[in-house]
Structures are given as C-alpha cells and as structure tokens.
C-alpha cells in the first residue's frame, strides 16, 4: 500500500478531454495547462486518469460522459471546466486529489448512473445491441437475403439452415451462451424472428447479429457499426459520426451534431491554428502540432505570434505531409453547397479516382484544406481581415465513404471553418 501511495504521489495528469459545444476556450485552456507540464492528453479512456469535460453540460452529453467515465481505469478523477478561467484551479485540484494518499476509488467525484447511447467502442464481433436505424441505401439487408443475417463470419448455408429450423441443439446452446454474456435489445421473436427497424438482424432469442453487405472487394464481409464521438480527442465539439465499417473501410457514414452551445467570438487566427493543431495531431506530427498549439496560445494571450513564419514554412514544405494527406476525403462537386446524403461507396470511389494528384493550388482534399488554412493565417498575420465559413456537417457522409477508419478522423478534422479572403499577393 505504501508503494502504491508513493508511486501515486508522482503521477502526472493525463486528461481525456471531452468538449461540449461551446467549450472550445475551456479546452484550449486545459491543453495549455497540460503543455506547461509537458504532459500530453489521452486519446482513449484507458490511457487517462482524469476525465475533463470542457464547457457547459447538457443532458445528451452527460449521458455520453457517464458511459466514458466507466471506461477509465482507477485511479481516476472527473473534472468539469466550464470556462477557460476555471481550468487552472480545477486541474490542480484534480491532480492533488489523484496524488493524495487518502484517495479512495469510490470518491464522491465519481458520478453513478449508466448512460446509454453514448460513444461505444463496439467490439468487432458484436454489434452494439441497440443499433440506431441506419439511413441510406444498403443500410438494411433484406431478410430474404441468405447472407444478410449471421454472426461474424458464418457461412450462410449453414446459418440459414440453423435458423429456419430453429431447433438445432447446438445453436440453441450458443444463443443462450450469447445471451448470458451481453445485454441485448430483448426481442422475443419466435423461431423466424427478424427484428426490423434495427441495423442488425435479430436472431431468435433476441441477439443482434452482425449483418453483411456488398463491399468493393466482392467479399460480403461483416458490417461493423462504430460510433465516433462526441467523447473523442481531438474531435469537433458535439459531433457524432456513425460509421458502417467493413474491415476498416468506411462504407456509410451519418453525422449529427449536439445542439450548439453558447457562441464565443473566436479570433479567426486562433480558430485556424486550433484546427491545424488538431489535424496535425491526427496526422501524427507531434512536433508541428505542438508548435501550432503554442502559437495558438500565444495569439489567445494577445502576444505576437513569433515563429509563425517558420512553422508555416515547415508545414508547407513537408513533402511527407503532402504525400500522406493528399487525395483524402474529396468533397463531392469540389466544394460546399453541393447536395449530400449517404453517398454510395461506388460513387465516392469514382470521384476519388477523378481527383488529380495535388499540383498547384488548394486541391479538394485534406491537404488542400490545410493549405487553405495556412493561406488564411498568412492573410491574418499580414494584417488583412478574413472571414470564416462554418463547416457543413452534411458534407461529411460523402467525404468519409470509401476511406478507412483513420482517414475518417483526418477528414473530420479537415472539415473545419474555411477562411475566405482576398488572395495574398505574395507569400514566402
């Protein structure tokens, strides 16, 4: 016990930052606080020892947060930072509590209540039990399709045989075993039951099964339903994206936003630098991301953005960044204002193929959007006024389909506010 206490006295704070709509200034303050200690925020609940909720709470977000909270390993602490000014005190208090020898796991700071409907980390083998109805073509497999309802990887011939007769000993056994292990939506259908209105088919006994669907390799692999957000870091505040994956390829996507929180008047430069920071973190360039964050904090504090030019040149000159990010997440029609919807993967693919390799000028991809932000920043720091155009979450589904899971996060990060300004005549 003494050893654990001694170890805990040295523990750093690794926050999992959940941003509520309108909580961006608080998040930036938390990031800055971590940066001062050279501690990096966590990307997943398992890595964190503190759950930091930034911004005003809402019922929808609280449910999500309650679920994530249970995924944090002990010792853990929950912190709410409503405004940027609270960050320092709240985090210091949390750290002191984590380090205190009298820490008890069932501390009063732990809320109870099991939220549902929050961000799941669905297991590859079991779809989430209460899957939301999926819109768009191909979301449902008709019950008549032989391959449309099966547990992971089952051959359909065997499978259909097992269901239609409903009385196989081993299958009955399997179902009961399955039931025992997982919560499920509780359908009590008969031998032929198919739960309609759910993304996954429901087998007799009420177990949701992974459905299957056509994919571009012609393999009819299992469809996996994954919900991203809103408790992800880095991730746009309040956004939830529901994906249908096969392997790690996104087949369909649907996006929704939590109701917007209080609007803060954010300086455009701060907004752009913050977006660049998030994108660079996801692109796996910690050095450049750190510089972007420090620049952002400097601008927030009203200081001069010293080192901006160096940073921008470095990001622009990186061939590796361009090589990695170009061609990702093309938007239909080349920009905002085009009709969207759950684009079929075939269409998205054709468009992806049609995008030329990035040459001069901002291309219609993740890299092009990052370049546009840099141009906007150039303009701001050259003393011009720029305007920001808010992103349209309706663009997301078409941009995500056909890419892989990780590209999805890059694409989401790249669909931030876009700067509108007169072109800068010359740039370094």
């Amino acid at each position: 016990m003494g050893l654990t206490t001694a170890l805990r006295r040295r523990t750093p704070l690794r926050p999992l930052i959940v941003t509520a709509p309108g909580g961006e200034p608080a998040r930036m303050a938390v990031e800055r606080w971590c940066d001062r200690h050279a501690w990096s925020p966590a990307y997943a609940p398992a890595q964190a020892n503190a759950l930091v909720v930034c911004g005003p709470g809402s019922a929808a977000l609280d449910a999500v947060v309650a679920e994530v909270w249970h995924q944090l390993p002990l010792p853990r602490r929950r912190v709410t930072v409503r405004a940027a000014d609270d960050a320092d005190a709240a985090l210091r208090h949390a750290l002191a509590a984590l380090r205190s020898p009298s820490y008890r796991p069932d501390d009063a700071a732990e809320p109870d209540g099991h939220g549902t409907g929050g961000p799941r980390y669905p297991e590859p083998d079991q779809p989430a039990p209460d899957l939301p109805a999926q819109g768009g073509p191909g979301g449902h497999d008709g019950p008549g399709e032989p391959g449309g309802h099966r547990e992971h990887g089952e051959p359909s011939g065997y499978d259909v045989h097992g269901h239609e007769h409903g009385g196989h000993d081993d299958r009955a056994h399997e179902h009961s075993a399955h039931e025992g292990g997982h919560e499920h939506s509780g359908h009590e259908d008969g031998g032929h039951g198919h739960g309609h209105g759910h993304g996954g088919m429901v087998l007799p006994g009420g177990v949701a099964m992974a459905d299957r669907g056509a994919d571009r390799d012609g393999l009819m692999l299992d469809r996996l339903h994954v919900t991203l957000g809103p408790a992800l870091y880095p991730w746009p505040a309040g956004l939830t994206v529901r994906l249908v994956l096969q392997g790690d390829v996104v087949q369909e996507a649907a996006a929704e936003l939590l109701p917007a929180g209080p609007r803060h008047s954010v300086v455009p430069a701060v907004r752009l630098l913050d977006q660049a920071h998030c994108l660079l973190v996801l692109a796996g360039w910690p050095g450049a991301a750190r510089d972007a964050r420090r620049l952002r904090d400097a601008v927030r504090a009203g200081a001069a953005p010293t080192g901006y030019r160096r940073w921008a040149t470095r990001v622009r000159r990186s061939r590796m960044l361009r090589w990695s990010l170009s061609g990702l997440g093309p938007l239909p029609g080349g920009g905002p204002g085009t009709p969207t919807g759950a684009g079929s993967s075939a269409g998205a693919r054709a468009r992806a193929g049609a995008v030329p390799p990035t040459g001069a000028g901002p291309a219609n991809d993740v890299y092009g959007r990052l370049s546009a932000w840099l141009d906007g920043l150039d303009a701001v720091f050259a003393g011009r006024a720029i305007e920001l155009v808010e992103p349209d979450p309706g663009l997301l589904p078409a941009a995500l389909a056909g890419g892989d899971l990780a590209a999805a996060r890059l694409v989401v990060a790249s669909l931030g506010a876009a700067p509108v300004h007169e072109p800068v005549p010359e740039r370094a």
């Binding site: 032989p146 391959g147 051959p155 359909s156 011939g157 065997y158 390799d217 012609g218 393999l219 009819m220």
Partner: protein, 101 residues
Amino acid sequence: MMLQLFLLLAAALLAIGLYGALSQQSIVMIMMGLELMVNAVIVAGAAAWWFLAPHRPDGQVLVVVAITVMAVEMAMGFAVTTAIFRARDVDTTDAAADLRR
C-alpha cells in the same frame, strides 16, 4: 534411443494433424491440420539427418522442401478460399461439395 523419441514426436504430430484434416469442416481448420502434418515431416527429417546420415545434406534439404511446401499450401489455400468465398459465399468443404457431382 533419441532417434526413436524424435520419430515418436513426429508420429504424434502427424496423427493429430490427420485427425484435424479429416474431422474439420472449415477450410482454414483443415489447412491447420495439414500444417501440423508438415510439422511432423520437419521433425522427422531433421532427426533422420542428425541420427542417421549427417554427412549428407538430404535430411536438411527435406526440411527446406517441407517449409516451402507449407508456404505454398498456405498461400494456395487462402487464395482458393478467397475465390470460393467471393463466388459462393461459403468457407466449408461440405458446402463446396458439389464439386463432387
């Protein structure tokens, strides 16, 4: 006496592999059975080389051939599984048995 022990090990592995290859339905599991049998060949080849005729390379070459056979078997097995799965959406031998007719 060591030679007999090694060969008994090989025989046991061969028998287990045979059991798997005969009793399993899934193509992938059958391949596992086959690999266990090749594993037995590796043991037997190496033991025969060391205990019977180490001055000649034949035993070693046999082991290399066995390893190659295993690689080929696995590659072909998965290619065929992929092709069958794509065309017919099955992955068990019973379900693909209409080849017999």
